[in-house]
Amino acid sequence: MGRAKIKRGSTNIDMTAMCDVAFLLLSYFILIAEFKPAEAIEVNPPSSVASKAAPQTDAFLVSISPEGQVFVQLSEEMKGDVIEEISTARNLNFSAEDKSLFKQSLFIGTPLSQLPQFVRIKPENLHSVKLTGIPIDSTNNELEAWINAALNVYKGKKINWLIKGDNNSKYLVFRDVINSFKKNEVFKYQLVTNAEDIPAESELARKPQKTEGTE
Protein backbone atom coordinates (compact mmCIF):
# COMPACT_ATOMS: atom_id res chain seq x y z
CA MET A 1 0.00 0.00 0.00
CA GLY A 2 2.54 2.49 -0.93
CA ARG A 3 0.32 5.44 -1.51
CA ALA A 4 2.09 8.67 -2.03
CA LYS A 5 1.23 11.16 0.64
CA ILE A 6 0.21 14.46 -0.85
CA LYS A 7 1.03 17.31 1.38
CA ARG A 8 -2.16 19.26 1.81
CA GLY A 9 -2.15 22.94 2.55
CA SER A 10 -3.85 23.90 5.74
CA THR A 11 -7.51 24.81 5.31
CA ASN A 12 -7.38 27.13 8.28
CA ILE A 13 -7.55 30.74 7.24
CA ASP A 14 -6.54 33.44 9.58
CA MET A 15 -9.84 34.96 10.57
CA THR A 16 -8.41 37.79 12.61
CA ALA A 17 -8.35 40.28 9.78
CA MET A 18 -11.85 39.43 8.68
CA CYS A 19 -13.07 39.71 12.24
CA ASP A 20 -11.51 43.13 12.52
CA VAL A 21 -13.24 44.31 9.39
CA ALA A 22 -16.58 42.91 10.48
CA PHE A 23 -16.54 44.65 13.81
CA LEU A 24 -15.20 47.84 12.34
CA LEU A 25 -18.15 47.94 9.97
CA LEU A 26 -20.50 47.02 12.78
CA SER A 27 -19.34 49.84 15.02
CA TYR A 28 -19.47 52.23 12.08
CA PHE A 29 -23.08 51.38 11.33
CA ILE A 30 -24.13 51.53 14.96
CA LEU A 31 -22.54 54.93 15.42
CA ILE A 32 -23.87 56.37 12.19
CA ALA A 33 -27.43 55.13 12.76
CA GLU A 34 -29.78 57.89 13.79
CA PHE A 35 -32.17 57.21 16.54
CA LYS A 36 -35.78 57.32 15.61
CA PRO A 37 -37.06 60.79 16.41
CA ALA A 38 -39.06 60.78 19.61
CA GLU A 39 -42.64 59.93 18.88
CA ALA A 40 -45.19 62.34 20.20
CA ILE A 41 -47.81 59.70 20.46
CA GLU A 42 -48.19 56.16 19.27
CA VAL A 43 -49.25 56.56 15.65
CA ASN A 44 -49.14 53.69 13.18
CA PRO A 45 -49.39 55.16 9.72
CA PRO A 46 -50.86 53.12 6.87
CA SER A 47 -48.59 51.86 4.11
CA SER A 48 -48.37 53.12 0.56
CA VAL A 49 -46.23 52.54 -2.52
CA ALA A 50 -44.69 56.00 -2.26
CA SER A 51 -40.94 55.60 -2.20
CA LYS A 52 -39.81 59.12 -1.43
CA ALA A 53 -38.45 59.57 2.08
CA ALA A 54 -40.38 61.93 4.31
CA PRO A 55 -38.51 65.21 4.75
CA GLN A 56 -37.25 65.96 8.24
CA THR A 57 -36.26 69.61 7.91
CA ASP A 58 -38.62 72.59 7.77
CA ALA A 59 -41.36 70.16 8.61
CA PHE A 60 -44.70 70.93 10.16
CA LEU A 61 -46.06 67.54 11.11
CA VAL A 62 -49.68 67.05 12.08
CA SER A 63 -50.29 63.72 13.80
CA ILE A 64 -53.72 62.23 14.22
CA SER A 65 -54.04 59.74 17.06
CA PRO A 66 -56.37 56.72 16.89
CA GLU A 67 -58.77 58.59 19.20
CA GLY A 68 -58.82 61.55 16.84
CA GLN A 69 -56.72 64.01 18.80
CA VAL A 70 -54.51 66.26 16.74
CA PHE A 71 -50.90 67.00 17.65
CA VAL A 72 -48.32 69.15 15.97
CA GLN A 73 -44.59 68.59 15.82
CA LEU A 74 -42.41 71.42 14.60
CA SER A 75 -38.87 71.14 13.31
CA GLU A 76 -36.29 72.39 15.78
CA GLU A 77 -35.35 75.38 13.67
CA MET A 78 -38.96 76.51 13.52
CA LYS A 79 -39.97 76.32 17.15
CA GLY A 80 -38.52 79.53 18.54
CA ASP A 81 -39.97 81.82 15.89
CA VAL A 82 -43.33 80.11 15.78
CA ILE A 83 -43.95 80.45 19.51
CA GLU A 84 -43.04 84.15 19.34
CA GLU A 85 -45.36 84.62 16.41
CA ILE A 86 -48.36 82.86 17.92
CA SER A 87 -47.77 84.55 21.26
CA THR A 88 -48.02 88.01 19.73
CA ALA A 89 -50.78 87.08 17.29
CA ARG A 90 -53.02 85.87 20.07
CA ASN A 91 -51.87 88.21 22.86
CA LEU A 92 -50.91 85.31 25.07
CA ASN A 93 -47.93 86.87 26.85
CA PHE A 94 -45.94 83.69 27.30
CA SER A 95 -43.06 84.22 29.68
CA ALA A 96 -39.47 83.76 28.56
CA GLU A 97 -39.38 80.55 30.55
CA ASP A 98 -42.48 79.25 28.78
CA LYS A 99 -40.84 79.92 25.47
CA SER A 100 -37.57 78.23 26.29
CA LEU A 101 -39.40 75.22 27.66
CA PHE A 102 -41.49 75.14 24.51
CA LYS A 103 -38.34 74.85 22.44
CA GLN A 104 -37.41 71.73 24.36
CA SER A 105 -40.82 70.12 24.20
CA LEU A 106 -41.32 67.37 21.67
CA PHE A 107 -44.72 68.34 20.40
CA ILE A 108 -47.80 70.46 21.00
CA GLY A 109 -50.58 68.44 22.54
CA THR A 110 -52.93 70.88 24.23
CA PRO A 111 -54.96 73.98 23.51
CA LEU A 112 -53.00 77.23 23.63
CA SER A 113 -54.51 78.16 26.99
CA GLN A 114 -52.93 75.12 28.62
CA LEU A 115 -49.60 75.38 26.85
CA PRO A 116 -47.61 76.76 29.85
CA GLN A 117 -48.69 73.79 31.95
CA PHE A 118 -48.10 71.38 29.08
CA VAL A 119 -44.47 72.38 28.46
CA ARG A 120 -43.72 71.74 32.12
CA ILE A 121 -44.71 68.09 31.90
CA LYS A 122 -41.57 65.98 31.87
CA PRO A 123 -41.15 63.86 28.73
CA GLU A 124 -41.13 60.64 30.74
CA ASN A 125 -44.52 61.53 32.25
CA LEU A 126 -46.17 62.38 28.96
CA HIS A 127 -47.57 58.91 28.52
CA SER A 128 -49.45 58.98 31.80
CA VAL A 129 -51.04 62.38 31.19
CA LYS A 130 -54.26 62.48 29.29
CA LEU A 131 -53.76 64.92 26.46
CA THR A 132 -56.57 66.82 24.87
CA GLY A 133 -54.90 67.56 21.56
CA ILE A 134 -55.17 70.77 19.59
CA PRO A 135 -58.78 71.88 19.08
CA ILE A 136 -59.82 71.84 15.42
CA ASP A 137 -63.57 72.30 15.65
CA SER A 138 -65.09 75.12 13.65
CA THR A 139 -65.68 77.38 16.67
CA ASN A 140 -62.14 77.17 17.97
CA ASN A 141 -59.67 76.02 15.36
CA GLU A 142 -56.24 76.46 16.88
CA LEU A 143 -54.54 74.27 14.29
CA GLU A 144 -55.35 77.01 11.82
CA ALA A 145 -53.59 79.51 14.10
CA TRP A 146 -50.48 77.31 14.31
CA ILE A 147 -50.38 76.91 10.54
CA ASN A 148 -50.80 80.64 10.13
CA ALA A 149 -47.97 81.33 12.57
CA ALA A 150 -45.65 78.94 10.74
CA LEU A 151 -46.55 80.56 7.41
CA ASN A 152 -45.80 84.03 8.78
CA VAL A 153 -42.45 82.89 10.10
CA TYR A 154 -41.51 81.19 6.85
CA LYS A 155 -42.66 83.92 4.52
CA GLY A 156 -41.93 82.77 1.00
CA LYS A 157 -39.82 79.84 2.10
CA LYS A 158 -41.10 76.33 1.62
CA ILE A 159 -42.49 74.39 4.55
CA ASN A 160 -42.97 70.66 4.30
CA TRP A 161 -46.51 70.08 5.46
CA LEU A 162 -46.69 66.55 6.73
CA ILE A 163 -49.76 64.71 7.88
CA LYS A 164 -49.37 61.47 9.76
CA GLY A 165 -52.58 59.72 10.65
CA ASP A 166 -53.12 56.48 12.49
CA ASN A 167 -54.62 53.53 10.66
CA ASN A 168 -57.69 53.64 12.85
CA SER A 169 -58.24 57.37 13.04
CA LYS A 170 -61.41 58.63 11.45
CA TYR A 171 -61.41 60.15 8.01
CA LEU A 172 -63.48 63.06 9.36
CA VAL A 173 -60.60 64.27 11.53
CA PHE A 174 -58.29 64.08 8.53
CA ARG A 175 -60.77 66.14 6.54
CA ASP A 176 -60.91 68.75 9.29
CA VAL A 177 -57.12 68.95 9.26
CA ILE A 178 -57.13 69.39 5.47
CA ASN A 179 -59.78 72.09 5.83
CA SER A 180 -57.63 73.96 8.35
CA PHE A 181 -54.80 73.90 5.81
CA LYS A 182 -57.09 75.02 3.03
CA LYS A 183 -58.21 78.04 5.03
CA ASN A 184 -54.58 79.09 5.12
CA GLU A 185 -54.29 78.60 1.36
CA VAL A 186 -52.04 75.58 1.73
CA PHE A 187 -52.94 72.93 -0.78
CA LYS A 188 -50.00 70.57 -1.02
CA TYR A 189 -49.34 68.07 1.68
CA GLN A 190 -47.33 64.96 2.17
CA LEU A 191 -48.89 62.02 3.91
CA VAL A 192 -46.44 60.08 6.01
CA THR A 193 -46.74 56.38 5.32
CA ASN A 194 -44.79 53.19 5.67
CA ALA A 195 -43.11 51.95 2.56
CA GLU A 196 -44.75 49.11 0.69
CA ASP A 197 -43.69 47.23 -2.41
CA ILE A 198 -45.27 48.16 -5.69
CA PRO A 199 -47.48 45.23 -6.69
CA ALA A 200 -46.00 43.36 -9.63
CA GLU A 201 -47.94 43.52 -12.87
CA SER A 202 -49.59 46.79 -11.91
CA GLU A 203 -49.69 49.87 -14.12
CA LEU A 204 -47.21 51.63 -11.88
CA ALA A 205 -44.74 48.75 -12.08
CA ARG A 206 -44.97 48.70 -15.86
CA LYS A 207 -44.50 52.42 -16.17
CA PRO A 208 -40.91 53.43 -16.95
CA GLN A 209 -39.55 54.47 -13.59
CA LYS A 210 -39.33 58.20 -13.41
CA THR A 211 -37.62 59.81 -10.51
CA GLU A 212 -40.32 60.14 -7.97
CA GLY A 213 -40.95 63.17 -5.92
CA THR A 214 -41.05 65.71 -8.70
CA GLU A 215 -43.87 68.08 -8.13
Binding site: L25, L26, A53, N167, K182, F187, K188, Q190, T193, I198
Partner: protein
Protein backbone atom coordinates in the same frame (compact mmCIF):
# COMPACT_ATOMS: atom_id res chain seq x y z
CA UNK B 1 6.79 19.89 34.90
CA UNK B 2 9.63 17.78 33.96
CA UNK B 3 8.38 14.91 36.03
CA UNK B 4 4.97 15.07 34.56
CA UNK B 5 6.44 15.16 31.12
CA UNK B 6 8.44 12.10 31.89
CA UNK B 7 5.42 10.22 33.13
CA UNK B 8 2.91 11.26 30.56
CA UNK B 9 5.04 11.47 27.50
CA UNK B 10 6.80 8.18 27.85
CA UNK B 11 6.72 7.38 24.17
CA UNK B 12 8.30 10.62 23.10
CA UNK B 13 11.76 10.78 21.92
CA UNK B 14 13.70 13.37 23.72
CA UNK B 15 16.28 15.29 21.87
CA UNK B 16 19.69 15.32 23.31
CA UNK B 17 19.59 17.64 26.25
CA UNK B 18 16.44 19.47 25.06
CA UNK B 19 13.27 19.30 27.00
CA UNK B 20 10.32 19.82 24.75
CA UNK B 21 7.55 21.54 26.63
CA UNK B 22 4.32 21.38 24.73
CA UNK B 23 2.96 24.86 24.16
CA UNK B 24 -0.79 25.35 23.91
CA UNK B 25 -1.79 27.12 20.75
CA UNK B 26 -2.84 30.70 21.34
CA UNK B 27 -4.97 30.63 18.25
CA UNK B 28 -8.69 30.93 18.75
CA UNK B 29 -11.06 29.96 16.02
CA UNK B 30 -12.53 33.29 15.02
CA UNK B 31 -15.01 31.95 12.47
CA UNK B 32 -18.08 32.10 14.75
CA UNK B 33 -17.14 35.59 15.84
CA UNK B 34 -16.92 36.77 12.24
CA UNK B 35 -20.26 35.12 11.55
CA UNK B 36 -21.82 36.97 14.43
CA UNK B 37 -20.25 40.24 13.32
CA UNK B 38 -21.63 40.04 9.83
CA UNK B 39 -25.00 38.90 11.11
CA UNK B 40 -25.23 42.04 13.23
CA UNK B 41 -24.13 44.22 10.33
CA UNK B 42 -26.84 42.80 8.10
CA UNK B 43 -29.37 43.30 10.87
CA UNK B 44 -28.44 46.94 11.36
CA UNK B 45 -28.42 47.69 7.65
CA UNK B 46 -31.86 46.18 7.20
CA UNK B 47 -33.46 47.86 10.18
CA UNK B 48 -32.12 51.32 9.35
CA UNK B 49 -33.53 51.33 5.84
CA UNK B 50 -36.83 49.78 6.87
CA UNK B 51 -37.74 52.33 9.51
CA UNK B 52 -37.46 55.24 7.11
CA UNK B 53 -40.96 56.62 6.71
CA UNK B 54 -42.02 57.63 3.23
CA UNK B 55 -44.22 60.47 2.14
CA UNK B 56 -47.00 60.45 -0.35
CA UNK B 57 -47.84 63.68 -2.13
CA UNK B 58 -51.37 64.96 -1.94
CA UNK B 59 -52.61 68.11 -3.58
CA UNK B 60 -56.09 69.37 -2.88
CA UNK B 61 -57.90 71.86 -5.07
CA UNK B 62 -58.94 75.27 -3.85
CA UNK B 63 -62.57 75.42 -2.89
CA UNK B 64 -64.59 77.41 -5.35
CA UNK B 65 -68.11 78.73 -5.27
CA UNK B 66 -68.37 79.40 -8.97
CA UNK B 67 -69.98 76.46 -10.70
CA UNK B 68 -68.42 77.24 -14.08
CA UNK B 69 -64.97 76.74 -12.62
CA UNK B 70 -65.82 73.21 -11.60
CA UNK B 71 -64.67 70.33 -13.70
CA UNK B 72 -67.33 68.70 -15.72
CA UNK B 73 -67.19 64.94 -15.70
CA UNK B 74 -68.57 62.92 -18.57
CA UNK B 75 -71.08 60.41 -17.37
CA UNK B 76 -69.63 57.66 -19.52
CA UNK B 77 -66.24 58.01 -17.90
CA UNK B 78 -67.18 58.56 -14.30
CA UNK B 79 -66.48 56.10 -11.55
CA UNK B 80 -67.35 56.93 -7.98
CA UNK B 81 -65.77 55.06 -5.10
CA UNK B 82 -67.20 55.46 -1.63
CA UNK B 83 -65.69 54.07 1.51
CA UNK B 84 -67.90 52.93 4.34
CA UNK B 85 -67.33 51.28 7.66
CA UNK B 86 -66.00 47.76 8.01
CA UNK B 87 -63.51 48.21 5.14
CA UNK B 88 -66.19 48.03 2.48
CA UNK B 89 -65.99 49.96 -0.78
CA UNK B 90 -69.14 51.02 -2.63
CA UNK B 91 -68.93 52.05 -6.23
CA UNK B 92 -71.08 53.10 -9.11
CA UNK B 93 -70.53 54.14 -12.70
CA UNK B 94 -71.93 57.30 -14.17
CA UNK B 95 -74.22 59.62 -12.25
CA UNK B 96 -76.71 57.26 -10.67
CA UNK B 97 -75.85 56.46 -7.04
CA UNK B 98 -78.76 54.04 -6.74
CA UNK B 99 -76.81 51.54 -8.86
CA UNK B 100 -74.49 51.08 -5.94
CA UNK B 101 -72.34 47.98 -5.87
CA UNK B 102 -70.23 46.62 -3.05
CA UNK B 103 -66.67 45.43 -3.09
CA UNK B 104 -63.58 45.27 -0.90
CA UNK B 105 -60.15 46.85 -0.98
CA UNK B 106 -58.60 43.79 -2.59
CA UNK B 107 -60.96 43.70 -5.56
CA UNK B 108 -61.29 47.39 -6.20
CA UNK B 109 -58.17 47.39 -8.38
CA UNK B 110 -59.79 45.10 -10.90
CA UNK B 111 -62.83 47.36 -11.12
CA UNK B 112 -60.70 50.44 -11.66
CA UNK B 113 -58.56 48.74 -14.30
CA UNK B 114 -61.57 47.33 -16.16
CA UNK B 115 -63.12 50.76 -16.31
CA UNK B 116 -59.84 52.33 -17.31
CA UNK B 117 -59.40 49.90 -20.19
CA UNK B 118 -62.87 50.59 -21.58
CA UNK B 119 -62.82 54.38 -21.33
CA UNK B 120 -60.96 57.00 -23.34
CA UNK B 121 -58.18 58.47 -21.24
CA UNK B 122 -59.58 62.00 -21.29
CA UNK B 123 -63.04 60.95 -20.13
CA UNK B 124 -61.97 58.76 -17.26
CA UNK B 125 -62.49 60.37 -13.89
CA UNK B 126 -62.62 58.83 -10.45
CA UNK B 127 -64.43 60.52 -7.62
CA UNK B 128 -63.38 59.37 -4.17
CA UNK B 129 -65.93 59.88 -1.45
CA UNK B 130 -64.93 58.63 1.96
CA UNK B 131 -68.00 58.77 4.13
CA UNK B 132 -67.99 59.75 7.77
CA UNK B 133 -67.49 56.19 9.04
CA UNK B 134 -64.38 55.56 6.96
CA UNK B 135 -60.97 55.49 8.57
CA UNK B 136 -57.89 57.39 7.51
CA UNK B 137 -56.36 54.11 6.34
CA UNK B 138 -59.25 53.62 3.92
CA UNK B 139 -58.60 57.01 2.36
CA UNK B 140 -54.88 56.40 2.03
CA UNK B 141 -55.47 52.92 0.58
CA UNK B 142 -57.65 54.32 -2.16
CA UNK B 143 -55.26 57.18 -2.89
CA UNK B 144 -52.53 54.59 -3.09
CA UNK B 145 -54.65 52.62 -5.51
CA UNK B 146 -54.72 55.70 -7.74
CA UNK B 147 -50.93 55.71 -7.75
CA UNK B 148 -50.71 51.97 -8.37
CA UNK B 149 -53.12 52.06 -11.29
CA UNK B 150 -51.63 55.24 -12.68
CA UNK B 151 -54.87 57.22 -12.58
CA UNK B 152 -54.28 60.78 -13.71
CA UNK B 153 -57.59 62.39 -12.87
CA UNK B 154 -59.31 61.91 -9.56
CA UNK B 155 -60.81 64.02 -6.83
CA UNK B 156 -61.63 63.48 -3.19
CA UNK B 157 -64.85 65.02 -1.92
CA UNK B 158 -67.55 64.32 0.65
CA UNK B 159 -70.51 62.15 -0.32
CA UNK B 160 -73.86 63.83 -0.71
CA UNK B 161 -76.61 63.26 1.85
CA UNK B 162 -78.42 60.92 -0.58
CA UNK B 163 -75.33 58.86 -1.15
CA UNK B 164 -74.70 58.61 2.55
CA UNK B 165 -78.25 57.40 3.13
CA UNK B 166 -77.85 54.83 0.39
CA UNK B 167 -74.69 53.54 1.98
CA UNK B 168 -76.39 53.36 5.35
CA UNK B 169 -79.26 51.38 3.85
CA UNK B 170 -76.86 49.00 2.16
CA UNK B 171 -74.96 48.61 5.39
CA UNK B 172 -78.11 47.81 7.29
CA UNK B 173 -79.21 45.31 4.65
CA UNK B 174 -75.79 43.67 4.65
CA UNK B 175 -75.47 43.76 8.42
CA UNK B 176 -72.14 45.59 8.35
CA UNK B 177 -71.24 47.18 11.63
Amino acid sequence: MAEMEAKGGGGHKKGPGVKKSKKLSTRVDLTPMVDLGFLLITFFIFTTTMSQPTAMNLAMPKDTDKPDELNKVKESGALTLMMGKGDVVYYYFGNDPTKLQTTGYKDVRKIILDKKKNTPVDDFFITIKPNRDATYKNAVDILDEMAINDIKRYAMIDPTEDEYKLIQLTEQAGGIK
